[in-house]
Amino acid sequence: MGDYKFARDKLADVLTSLKEYQVFAPAAVGDVLRFKEVTDPANVSLDYDNTTVPPKELMFPQTETLFKYRLGSTEVEPSVPDASKKRMVFGIRPCDAHAYSIVDNLYGWDFADPYYQKRREGTTLVGLACAEPCANCFCPSVGGGPASEKGLDALMFDLGDAYYVNSLTDKGEEFAKAAGLEAAGDADAKAAAKQGEDALKKVARSIDTAGIPEKLPSLYDHPFWEQFSDRCLGCGICTFLCPTCHCFDIQDEAEAFDARRARMWDTCMFSEYSLHTSGHNPRPTRKERTRNRISHKYSYFPEKFDVIACVGCGRCINHCPVNIDILDILDKSKQAEAKEAKTA
């Protein structure tokens, strides 16, 4: 669609002009970056690698009320978000936007999830292409890239003194109009394209995913998982920080007579995740849980929705305290010899 630009020092003005949107942008709390609602446009900076906590929390908050009720009453009051309220994620990295388009499959599958979908509908995604990919990024290997347009409404490129904006959808056009962006010239478009190509070359890590979805189920009982699971702590870092991980727990909470049913992020790396009340656990050790995490992303999800549930953002690699490196696992899985697993 349209090509636009705005000067670097006009960033605050652009954000100020987006009054009809609730705008979220990366913000620092100490050394940690997270998407926060913009309260002061003057404080927003787009000079960042990527946020620690992915912006999935904007569509799928870590804790979310499903409905409220009074204890003793049978009336429930749903807390479904209002899609007519316009929201914008400003400066989202292409990998995180790509993640939304993957997770959309699940939340739209058969039973539509109104909580996620209403938020998605009302939100405009304005991306920011990566000029300098991080050390553990591997987005091109899983269908993305530093300047991938997947899932985005508009994509910005940092060209030094100005941001070049390529609007990709009607929502993106609307953003350009609301922000009053000036038209960009050919030179800017070329510079952006060049930056995208250069960035792609700078992505240091990669994996050839061909054959992995078909192979993983054959490694069900394979001891190679233990090379990794033996040092797994069973914490939730890899999954909570993963932009495509979407599992949740549902709990009822009451405070005096006010109660709610809420859902909160959950992770297959916790033992209680799959623990039956009887005490039986189908995934009793970290070996099975590690296998489930990797298999879900690279085999089960593609089997169902035809797309790998990984966007190559590198967060699980960057933040794993014990260096369980998903690329290393996938690499080893390709070398491992398939074994017929035992069933009944």
Binding site: T74, V76, F111, D266, A341
Partner: protein, 282 residues
């Protein structure tokens, strides 16, 4: 069907009858419920094998099979064993109380496909609950199905569910019933031993037959092995699985066995499907 716009909202149901099937720490209580809002019945339809999230506001919900056949009209039945947080809270409820139901969820037994065949059900303990709708569906459509063999065992004779109905099966024509208990007890006229052994004792013919089994995971495993020994083909063997569940609609993730969600793609699977998925027997 459920509220299309929000599958997380439960229906309120009134308990018309609550009674204990079995006593003890792990008592089984059967609830007969009907919707507080009569209009729900207009859109409600379920089949044998379907499940529902049953719960209590303020405590939570858990997945249970609907243990009544759709041929039993005007109510739903749930047989619930007292185990954890939710089931304990449900067991406190009595006739006249309300609980919540969200469903019907999951797939169901291909009852139409099975028409004209002999049906063998192999149940253990509370595993008889998902088999009950199959049995009652067959009994209500007697002319459409062949012989019905009910094979059922539990730890002790006290732990047998649906005792009032078991007697009927023994006398009804076209239906036979074989019971067992795990350990020897006084005045027990039937088989003593585990259900897989009872199955071998009864030794149903695989010819034009379908076997449906449900029980503890270990029992399912051995029953499946024995059915194969008896000559049943993998596509003749059906089971229902259970996993921990939260959403019941294929979103929350935890109930997967391999790439299948038990809540959505299941709980009913043929062994033909499951034999490719080792996790189903984990």
């Amino acid at each position: 069907m459920m509220d299309e716009s929000n599958p997380y909202l439960p229906y309120i149901v009134n308990i018309e009858d609550a009674r204990y099937e079995t006593p003890g720490d792990r008592a089984i209580k059967t609830f007969r419920v009907t919707f507080a809002d009569d209009k729900v019945w207009d859109t409600w339809s379920h089949s044998p094998g379907n499940c529902a999230m049953v719960g209590r506001l303020g405590v939570g919900e858990a997945m249970f099979c609907i243990s009544s056949s759709p041929t039993e009209e005007g109510y739903l039945r749930f047989s619930i064993m007292k185990m954890g947080k939710v089931t304990r809270a449900l067991h406190e409820l009595e006739t006249g109380d309300t609980m919540t139901v969200r469903g019907p969820l999951g797939n169901s037994f291909p009852m139409e496909e099975w028409e004209g065949k002999n049906i063998v059900t192999v149940g253990g303990g509370i595993g008889q609950a998902p088999l009950r709708p199959v049995i009652n569906y067959v009994r209500a459509n007697r002319d459409k199905y062949g012989e019905l063999q009910v094979i059922y065992g539990s730890r002790t004779s006290e732990d047998l569910c649906f005792q009032d109905e078991l007697g009927e099966f023994m006398t009804e024509s076209g239906t036979s019933c074989h019971l067992s208990v795990d350990v020897e007890e006084e005045k027990w006229p039937h088989f003593v031993g585990f259900v897989p052994n009872l199955l071998m004792e009864v030794s149903p013919s695989p010819e034009n037959a379908i076997a449906v089994t449900c029980g503890p995971p270990i029992m399912i495993k051995f029953v499946t092995q024995n059915l194969l020994k008896l000559g049943f083909a993998p596509e003749q063997i059906y089971t229902t699985l259970e996993e921990r569940m939260k959403c019941g609609i294929g979103k929350c993730g935890r109930c997967n066995v391999g790439h299948l969600y038990v809540c959505k793609d299941g709980p009913v699977f043929s062994y033909e499907t499951l034999k490719k998925i080792p996790e189903a027997f984990a």
